[in-house]
């Protein structure tokens, strides 16, 4: 989609973390060929969404950080994938740091030398599975306007950060109770000076005081007999703490430069969301914590790594005049005077230690999106159901909609559609070079590029990735079919009847696979392939006549990581790989 005008550069750079995609392992088991960030979501590689989001904000300095073995396919896709190449602006840089494993934590990643060198100013950290209808510049606007006045200076160490949390509930068709959530405790940020104009996100901006994933929360609860210990100091400092457990971290962080040093200094930090932000949020109110984490030195501009001397420029923040103090909408901070002596005179002064100058920890803000179906969508796609529901959501968007995610063509002009085939225009997406046979019925589905669909096929709520072949007479409901997979229909009935059983055994999972070999019953429908709510791995072949519900169909790893493999299953897997 061409952009009408380039927005001004906000002076930020973006880091997009292209991780392994553990929960999407049906489709991403081999990161060297198909990394998670290239999985199609509504016929665009997942990576397109954060890239486009950044471009709309005016950020063109983008670094993709990925483990080394996923780098070659990523670079190839950036060069050749039609959707990715259609993005305007310079091509993002791919950075595959040496020490980065598939299992590395995000904060660990931030500590790596290559990444540290790549960060030259304030930065945005995004995950490759982030999809947002909210214009990034609106979020960025909040970050910019709520920073302390003089923090406009690019190397200021008083800038705060901004994270985004979205509600996992209250959205029909997309929200599911199984979604991962985070535990966030926030306090209201200072009230806006005037009513923000309609459409401003200011109302949703709050200050984070505690944040952890629900897993950690549960661990803490288990350790403490189902109670969550909270320090008194939090309540002493903030009287109005709001705790949310149904929001999820969108993994979009607007961070100032000093966070890089903060992460580098604390070796124990594992993930950005849990550790870097979690400790930062706590340091804002917990006494002595900021010093323990080395925040005082980080904020004073002392660098833990001296190899960056040229990078950050001279850190001279001699602000003799402070525009914030002059501003008529701010009040001066409490003077650092000694509070009046509380002791009786005979106690003497010696018992009172001189109070240390209090470190002003920059605020960690968060945009908490209110839960309402009318709100623009923010989501992370890290499970297959989410991938499906989001793809279908995007498919429902009318073309030339105001939403930045909408497709220009619901049915691409290059698609060939047979006679008497019905495709419900309003909720389907058909990509380029798709061939669809006659008398098909396609509803609420996304069909990826170069798919071949036979005749008499019924697709409902299905997501077909690129190059899927669907045979005649197949019925699929709620299925996600991986790249180049094949679902055979009645035309492929030439295969031996016995193989169907083998195929049935190949399906793993606890669901009951009902087999109907053509020999068993002689009805007309029996050789039809019927799949309901199945996930089909890339390159997998589903034999004709398979009837399954809730299955995950994938080739087995030759290493046999999944226990209980039968020999014949392995054979099938090999056969599929040959496809």
């Amino acid at each position: 989609m061409p952009h009408a005008t380039h927005p001004p550069s906000p002076g930020l750079q973006a880091l997009i973390l292209c991780g392994p995609g553990l929960s999407l392992n049906t489709f991403t088991s081999t990161p060297s060929t198909l990394p998670k960030c290239l999985l199609p979501v509504a016929n665009r590689p997942m990576l397109w969404y954060p890239l486009d989001w950044c471009h709309r904000m005016g950020i063109y300095d983008i670094t993709l950080i990925t483990p080394a073995d996923a780098a070659p396919p990523l670079e190839a896709a950036l060069r050749s994938h039609p959707v990715l190449t259609s993005l305007s602006g310079p091509r993002p840089e791919v950075l595959a740091p040496k020490g980065l494993e598939m299992t590395s934590g995000t904060a660990e990643l931030l500590r790596l030398g290559e990444v540290q060198r790549a960060i030259k100013g304030d930065f945005v950290v995004l995950s490759c599975d982030f999809v947002s209808e909210i214009d990034g510049s609106r979020v960025m606007q909040q970050w910019m306007s709520l920073n302390p006045a003089l923090a406009a200076a690019s190397f200021s160490r008083r800038k705060g950060g901004l994270a985004v949390y979205y509600p996992t509930h209250g959205r029909e068709g997309i929200s599911s109770k199984k979604d991962e959530t985070d535990f966030v405790a926030t306090v209201p940020f200072s009230r806006p000076n005037v009513m923000p104009p309609t459409g401003s996100l200011r109302q949703g901006v709050e200050e984070v005081v505690m944040v952890m994933p629900t897993d950690t929360l549960n661990d803490t609860l288990d350790e403490n007999k189902q109670a969550l210990p909270i320090r008194q100091t939090l309540l002493a400092k903030h009287g109005n703490v709001k705790i949310r457990t149904k929001h999820r971290d969108a993994h979009v962080y607007f961070l100032p430069l000093w966070v890089k040093d903060f992460a580098a200094r604390n070796e124990k930090f594992d993930s950005i969301s849990e550790d870097v932000l979690g400790w930062w949020a706590k340091a804002g109110w917990q006494q002595g914590l900021a010093e323990k984490l080395g925040l005082d030195e980080v904020l004073a501009g002392k660098r833990s790594t001296d190899d960056e001397a040229a990078n950050g420029g001279s850190v001279d923040e001699h602000e003799e005049v402070d525009a914030t103090a002059l501003s008529s909408t701010r009040s001066a901070p409490a003077p650092g005077r000694q509070p009046p002596q509380a002791f009786a005179t005979r106690v003497g002064n010696s018992t009172v230690p001189p109070p240390r100058p209090k470190l002003a920890v920059p605020p960690l803000l968060a945009y908490m999106q209110p839960a309402s179906p009318t709100q623009p969508l923010i989501r992370r796609i890290d499970t297959a159901p989410q991938l499906a529901s989001l793809s279908l959501h995007i498919a429902r968007l009318p073309p030339s909609d105001t939403s930045p995610l909408a497709h220009e063509h619901k049915i691409h002009p290059s698609a060939t559609i047979g006679q008497q085939t019905r495709i419900s225009q309003e909720d389907c997406l058909i990509a380029e070079n798709v061939t669809i046979g006659t008398r098909c019925n396609i509803k609420e589905s996304v069909v990826g590029a170069n798919c071949e669909i036979g005749s008499n096929v019924r697709l409902t709520k299905c997501v077909l990735m690129d190059g899927v072949v669907v045979g005649d007479g197949v019925q699929m409901v709620g299925c996600i079919v991986g790249k180049r997979a094949r679902v055979e229909g009645s035309s492929a009935v030439g295969v031996k009847a016995g193989e169907a059983e083998v195929d049935g055994a190949a399906m793993k999972g606890k669901g009951k696979a009902k087999q109907k070999a053509s020999a068993q019953s002689g009805g007309e429908d029996d050789d039809k392939t019927k799949l309901t709510e199945c996930e089909i791995a890339p390159f997998f072949v589903v034999e004709a006549g398979t009837e399954a519900k809730g299955e995950t169909m994938k080739a087995f790893d030759p290493e046999g990581e999944v226990g209980g493999d039968e020999d014949e299953d392995v054979d099938v897997g090999d056969e599929d790989n040959e496809e």
Partner: protein
């Protein structure tokens, strides 16, 4: 009247050069007709409204105007604005070139940023603009970053956002922040080939930054003075100077400017003004001024025992911030809403005011409401002292708050961003009395489309005879001001032009 069609159409042509000539002609014709019709109605209508309406009688019926005018007056009065008197109107008009009614809308009076919107909105009846002040309305306060020029430096971009959300508010704060952001922007500048920094920097690099800031909020007088100084500094640079040297020099000069004209000046003014506060004094102040805050704090630190009354008003509630910081410093503070002014002014022994700008006729431009404070204090024989850096002194002259002012978005007057349920809050009950009153009259109007539905103030846009007005400043007459304390000393208001010449024009 007929000969006025010509100039009006021309000025339009300048504004909307993109529109085709034929369409322009058509529009001009329609305009003319509408004016004629209005003129005719006018003659039949009440005569005493006519001189004050000024530009309103283009497409409105005279009867409707009467109501509007009335209500405008009420709003203005409630905000402490000077009532626009017909006699004064003439004087103010004389300053602009006498153009007749249509020109008042088409000619941008105060800045280049102000112009086209009202004239574009002319064809339809526009409910959002108070006609009398239509020249002050900005094109559109930018709610987002879309459409901002690509050349705007990130620091300026951020500053623009902070200014438009009032995170940075107040003349000197904005001026300082602007200069510091410009420092960043200048450091990021590289001179293209075939040109030199003194020739290129201002026109190609600095002016987009300035334009952006102006689009976020009209520039303050102090900002204007600082920009003039900066431009002069850059233009007078030696073209042979190496680029990085020149940039460093400019940045050092900016630092010096901020230091001399604001930081040290503030200290000097505070040191001088604090002597006006004596033991037992009751200092009354309005909203929040950084210098007043400093003065009061210094007097407190000196050990003077006195009391402070902070008067505050909607929608910015700046006085709250002042009261907070004074309270934290251990002062005895009384916080009063604007409506309680008459009550507390009796107790005051001194009124200290900050300034947005000091105008050359000795009048003070400051946060809206200041004029009422000064008037009340004058009546009660309480001396009114203005603390103002010379950088805020202006060569402009204004007699009323109409010619020079800033109109903030009227939505800021609303109490909540989302409209309450209509049945819980009838007619915008909690807003200023005048507005509530006019909303009530709006409801009574029989021609209203949906008389059954209760409207809240959030629907002000659709109420046919309701306007919201949110001016930022007003003008305090010089005779209410006992003394102006600036870094050149304590001067009477009549000496403002002298100080202005000394401070801002000799630079």
């Amino acid at each position: 009247m007929a000969e006025q069609g010509g100039p009006a159409a021309q000025s339009k042509a300048v504004d909307e050069s993109k529109v085709s000539a034929a369409e322009l002609k058509k529009r001009a014709k329609a305009d003319k007709q509408a004016r004629r019709a209005a003129q005719k109605e006018q003659e039949g209508g009440p005569a005493e409204v006519a001189p004050a309406t000024n530009g309103a009688h283009q497409e409105h019926l005279a009867q409707a105007q009467g109501v509007q005018q009335d209500q405008k007056g009420k709003v203005a009065h409630a905000k402490g604005l000077q009532q626009p008197k017909p006699s004064k109107q003439g004087g103010q008009e004389a300053k602009q070139d006498r153009g007749g009614p249509s020109q008042a809308q088409n000619i941008p009076l105060r800045s280049r940023a102000a112009p086209t919107a009202p004239s574009k909105e002319l064809p339809k009846k526009d409910n959002t603009v108070v006609e009398l002040l239509s020249h002050l309305y900005p094109i559109q306060r930018r709610p987002n970053l879309a459409g901002v020029s690509k050349d705007v430096h990130p620091a300026v971009l951020a500053l623009g956002l902070q200014i438009s959300t009032y995170e940075i508010c107040g003349s000197s704060a904005r001026c300082v922040a602007m200069l510091l952001a410009f420092k960043e922007a200048i450091q990021a500048y590289t001179t293209p080939r075939d040109t030199s920094l003194p020739r290129h920097l201002v026109s190609h690099h600095l002016s987009p930054q300035i334009d952006h800031l102006r689009s976020c909020r009209p520039l303050a007088e102090s900002m204007g003075n600082a920009i003039r100084w900066l431009k002069k500094l850059i233009v007078e640079l030696d073209p042979d100077k190496l680029e990085h040297e020149a940039k460093d020099f400019i940045c050092e000069e900016i630092d010096r400017f901020v230091h001399e004209r604001i930081t040290v000046t503030d200290q000097a003014i505070a040191a001088s003004a604090r002597n006006q506060i004596r033991t037992g004094s009751v200092v009354l102040t309005y909203a929040k001024s950084a210098i007043v805050e400093k003065t009061v704090l210094q007097a407190h630190e000196q050990g003077t025992r006195f009391r402070v009354i902070v008067v505050d008003s909607r929608p910015l509630f700046e006085g709250k911030r002042l009261a907070t910081s004074l309270m934290r410093a251990g002062l005895e503070v009384q916080y009063v809403p604007f409506s309680g002014l008459a009550h507390v002014v009796k107790d005051a022994t001194l009124v200290l005011l900050g300034a947005h700008s000091m105008l050359s006729n000795g009048r003070l431009q400051s946060r809206v409401g200041t004029a009422s404070i000064a008037l009340q204090a004058h009546k009660a024989d309480v001396p009114v002292i203005v603390c103002c850096e010379s950088v805020k002194f202006s060569g402009k002259v204004a007699l009323d708050s109409i010619v020079l002012n800033e109109i903030a978005p009227p939505e800021e007057l609303l109490l909540s961003a989302v409209p309450e349920k209509p049945h819980t809050y009838p007619v915008g009950a909690a807003t200023t009395a005048a507005v509530g009153k006019s909303a009530a009259t709006g409801k009574d109007a029989p021609e209203d489309d949906e008389p059954a539905k209760l409207k809240t103030l959030h629907d002000w846009n659709s109420a046919a005879n309701l306007r919201l007005l949110n001016p930022m400043y007003d003008i305090t007459p010089a005779e209410y001001i006992r003394m102006v304390i600036c870094e050149y000393g304590s001067v009477p208001p009549s000496s403002v032009p002298v100080v202005h010449r000394l401070a801002n024009e000799g630079m």
